[in-house]
Point group: C2
């Protein structure tokens, strides 16, 4: 079996893995420090565990345009030291293997599409709700890139009349991320989401905002399935609340059999913490196919 | 030159044309009546003006899934008599030529992409603001289909605090279409948009809502250009107002050179009333290529 490399380059931690398909043979993770140290540590892993191609699912913003002079770089990130870091060339040059990369959310979307909750479908939306909110979507089995990859978290939704929290997005205040991210929950209620009991009114409001966001994304992208992951979603009752709100908001406007069974339409990820590296294996496989024609 | 047929099947009128590329050689239009009469009239045109393939850009909802038993049909339309009308087979059988079809907004998006304001780009959003609001998007040069084609008009946006109109969407009340379609303008102000002077406060509010909608679509689809058409957009100052509101709403969050020049990013259609049939020619060309391998 071909040994593929997967690197999930996150803002908090890097995960390096070797495997193929959904099988992860080796896996290490370490905190994201300065670029030179962190990239050297990842490179050492792949020198010690040789692979035939490498896929990188990277935190953003990144430049995904192959014809751009800054292709392969992390661009205007607020993360100190990481602006303009080339994430592709150091690996391609030192390892001499094909390398392909995409955003972290597109990586997770690819992983879930190939081997997880989106298997067998061509149009899949993956939305992660953690400290921030970000989305990746596949249309016809291809990640949507476009001009950049704005990642969906900053769409505007109507405020709930009961909610007087101003929102925590430094750019927009009360965009979806400003109202419904883990950071927003913490600021609005004075406690992190993990410390709020299931009966707390926070969850009904959270479900309302996430359902409003999903309605907008579904009305725009028309995915065959929505996969909702991230730390905030680790509370199972939230899925049920979101499905209820989503049904009320759509109000029978969208006619498709799949939408009659929201338990199969709005689902949790199947790959857990491996979605990112498994998606990176998909990218590595694509790099290998592109290189060998 | 290959003679391609284009049919723009709208809920109000049908346009039949013969041409190639952006060149329209023959063109007729007639009102949409009952299906049997209207389809017979269109068929008579194409029998009289033979073509090698036919593209159809059709009002919806339509079934675009080739593996579905109702592929090629108009499905749950509120338009009397047209439910479950097969729009593809009558032409394919009677004319014996390859036929390809898509939604009316995807047709216009394809036309503008191939020969109009989206030429040379791969990721284009076309939004029409008329009696209703509908959108079509291309990702990597392919129309986004997915589960169905919800056409973007029914996304939710925050209400303007000054606006006490309840919205006119029968499904959702104050979704984007309910707040900013031509029908909404008419109901809110008691007069059709054409009868409101440029200085009327209607236009600032309209620009605000359309910019909120565009922000959500751009944050999700990341198009390289946005083409805004439809009857409501026939008022040129509206483009300027929309660009101003869009800039304020994005608030420098999206970093791309194209977004620094909104006059080139949010534009009017270039093909005018021919966008639909020119897009249908693109579909006809695709049908021909699929048939001849």
């Amino acid at each position: 079996m071909i040994r593929l490399g997967g690197l999930e380059a996150g803002g908090t931690k890097f995960v390096c893995a070797v495997g193929n398909g959904a099988t992860v043979q080796q896996r290490v993770s370490f905190p994201t420090r300065k670029p030179e140290e962190t990239l050297a540590e990842a490179l050492a892993f792949f020198k010690h565990h040789p692979v035939q191609a490498l896929g990188i699912a990277c935190f953003g913003p990144v430049d995904l345009n192959p014809s751009s002079p800054t292709f392969g770089r992390i661009t205007a990130t607020p993360k100190p030291h990481w602006q303009n870091t080339d994430i592709v060339q150091p690996f391609a040059q030192a390892l001499g293997i094909p390398v392909h990369f995409d955003t972290d959310v597109n990586g997770a979307a690819l992983g879930e599409w190939a081997w997880g909750a989106g298997r067998g479908l061509n149009d899949v939306l993956y939305l992660t709700v953690g400290t921030g909110i970000g989305g990746g979507a596949l249309s016809g089995g291809r990640p949507i890139h476009g001009l950049i990859h704005p990642e969906m978290g900053h769409i505007r939704v109507p405020r709930d009349p009961s909610d007087c929290f101003a929102g925590c997005c430094p750019f927009h205040g009360d965009c979806l991320e400003g109202l419904a991210s883990g950071a927003a929950i913490h600021q609005r209620w004075g406690r992190a989401g993990e410390k709020l009991e299931d009966s707390h009114p926070a969850w009904r409001l959270e479900a309302r905002y996430l359902a409003l966001g999903l309605v907008n994304l579904v009305m725009t992208l028309s995915p065959q399935r929505v996969i909702l992951g991230g730390g905030v979603m680790r509370r199972p009752p939230l899925y049920t609340l979101i499905r209820q709100e989503f049904k009320m908001l759509v109000n029978d406007y969208l006619q498709a059999n799949q939408l009659k069974d929201l338990e199969s339409y709005i689902v949790a990820p199947a790959l857990g913490e491996n979605a990112g590296v498994v998606g990176a294996f998909v990218l590595a496989q694509q790099a290998l196919e592109a290189a060998t024609g």
